[in-house]
């Protein structure tokens, strides 16, 4: 089961409880166990990372736990990976070079994930 957790009604992201490949259906669950409609992934979403539940525009707020966890820095499509490359903190943001390294490591995880699916 491709289980994803949406923590609050207000949230525009859900967290992956599995490694999900590209073009796969993410099964979105609320904390009370209720299952919502699926979201198709545009790229691999590694375990623990977040998928966009709808289109999010540059400058929009990102909600998780029903609270603002950051601000969108480039347009995000429904089904995209939501992370440091397209979101920044409103208090202390991660330095650019660290963001590059984080995304490099995630890219490797994504490539390994794709290789596994062949």
């Amino acid at each position: 089961m491709n289980r994803f957790s949406k923590k609050d009604e207000k949230d525009n992201v859900a967290t992956a409880l599995v490694d999900l490949g590209k073009n796969k259906a993410a099964h979105i669950y609320l904390s009370n166990g209720e299952r919502l409609t699926n979201v198709q992934s545009n790229e691999m979403i590694p375990h623990g990372n977040k998928i966009a539940l709808n289109d999010i525009n540059n400058g929009d707020k990102i909600y998780k736990y029903g609270e603002v966890i950051g601000i969108c820095t480039e347009d995000i499509k429904k089904g995209d990976l939501v992370h440091v490359h397209n979101v920044k903190s409103l208090t202390v943001d991660i330095p650019k070079e660290f963001k590059k390294e984080i995304m490099r490591q995630i890219k490797i995880m994504q490539e390994e994930g794709e290789a596994n699916e062949l």
């Binding site: 166990g33 375990h47 992370h83 920044k88 202390v92």
Partner: protein, 391 residues
């Protein structure tokens, strides 16, 4: 719910009956450890900073407060004899609340070998005296439980932290006290904390202590890690996301006050409810901070490994499928795949709290205990930061 605890002279309830050796300077650390090896259930607290008093009053206050912790039955204070901190200064306030306390100075006692011999005799005498303390039936309303996280990943915010928070809420419903800390990691949670604080005054105090902690750690020209690369590769995007997940372990009850740990005093919680505190985010120092606030136990949420403390037992909670091992006391993994609920794991934690209070050991108690680290806010740095702010 009741457990069998040790009632101390000052009315507080211990869940362990330890003897504590306080080495007021690092030079007598080896002497303290040699004595401790020969006396069962004894623990060593060493001041490794300095043997000088000026500027280190916060450490001095903590040594006294740990001696007063209800899990400590009696205390032996030792000093080399050439430093500024006199053992009497530590021993007297602890003796005042009715605990058996003795002192020993290496220089006055004929050197290291004789001090070890005399120390073993003195500590054995204290140990025999406190072993007469009976365990009596008391309510879990007597419990003060600290809550702390470490090695956070996505499962912390979703499974182990909400479970710890659920248990803290239930403990408070039963009349107990919960204490959180890690102010640096509450950045971005201010609006949430404003809603939870019992008054605007309490919120302002919380806010100013968070700001002070921010200024301590964010000094230009030095690096500070609010997020490790590992945190982010694991899926945490911003400090807000990490902090909000961390806040779950502190439950949902109103925040009664924030307990200060400083050079002038150490606060104590006064009545049932939830309190924030100046307990550091650094795990070793946090153990001693919690002990100095009077906590008898700590809930620790994580992936795995980490935090232990020889005075106040640590209950470990993990929901991480990959890292879970037999160091853990509570299994929260089922929450991640939907086969278990936060409420059920919360009930398991409460059950475990009562068992541990009753004398049962945690998975790692007495195995590979961590050092009791005395962490303090350096008074010299505090002054410098203060002068920076005034410019």
């Amino acid at each position: 719910m009741n457990f069998k605890g040790y009632r101390r002279e000052d009315g507080s309830i211990g869940i362990r009956n330890k003897t504590l050796i306080i080495a007021v300077d690092e030079c007598c650390d080896g002497i303290a450890r040699n004595i401790s090896e020969k006396v069962k259930d004894s623990v060593v607290l060493t001041n490794s900073y300095t043997c000088m008093l000026g500027g280190n009053e916060e450490t001095f206050n903590q040594m006294i407060a740990v001696g007063k912790n209800p899990n400590v039955g009696g205390v032996l204070v030792i000093a080399m004899g050439c430093g500024s901190i006199l053992p009497e200064q530590i021993a007297e306030p602890i003796a005042k609340i009715g605990k058996p306390v003795d002192i020993l100075t290496c220089q006055k006692n004929g050197g290291t070998r004789r001090t070890i011999e005399t120390g073993i005799q003195k500590l054995k005498t204290i140990s025999e005296e406190i072993n007469k303390t009976p365990r009596e039936d008391v309510s879990i309303a007597e419990l003060i439980v600290g809550v702390k996280c470490g090695g956070s990943d996505t499962s912390s915010g979703m499974a182990s932290n909400p479970s710890a928070g659920n248990a803290i809420d239930k403990l408070i419903d039963a009349g107990g006290i919960g204490i959180g800390g890690e102010l640096f990691e509450l950045q971005g949670c201010q609006e949430n904390l404003r809603k939870r604080a019992v008054s605007e005054e309490v919120f302002n105090k919380i806010d100013s202590l968070i700001e002070a902690e921010k200024s301590r750690w964010s000094v230009e020209g030095t690096n500070v890690e609010t997020m490790s690369i590992g945190n982010s590769v694991g899926g945490l995007t911003t400090i807000e996301e990490k902090s909000l997940g961390a806040l779950y372990k502190m439950g949902t009850k109103p925040i009664k006050d924030i307990l200060e740990i400083n050079k002038d005093f150490i606060d104590k919680p006064k009545e049932s409810g939830f309190y924030l505190s100046e307990t550091t985010m650094l795990c070793g120092g946090a153990g001693v901070n919690f002990a100095s606030l009077g906590a008898q136990m700590v809930l620790w949420t994580s992936g795995a490994a980490g935090f232990n403390n020889p005075i106040i037992p640590v209950i470990r909670i993990s929901g991480n499928e990959d890292l879970f091992n037999d160091d853990m006391d509570i299994d929260a993994r089922g929450i991640m795949d939907g086969s278990d609920t936060v409420d059920n794991v919360g009930n398991n934690i409460i059950k475990k709290i009562v068992e541990i209070a009753n004398g049962e050991k945690t998975q790692l108690e007495d195995i590979g205990s961590a050092t009791l680290t005395l962490y303090q806010k350096d008074q010299r740095l505090e002054q410098l930061l203060g002068s920076c702010k005034n410019k």
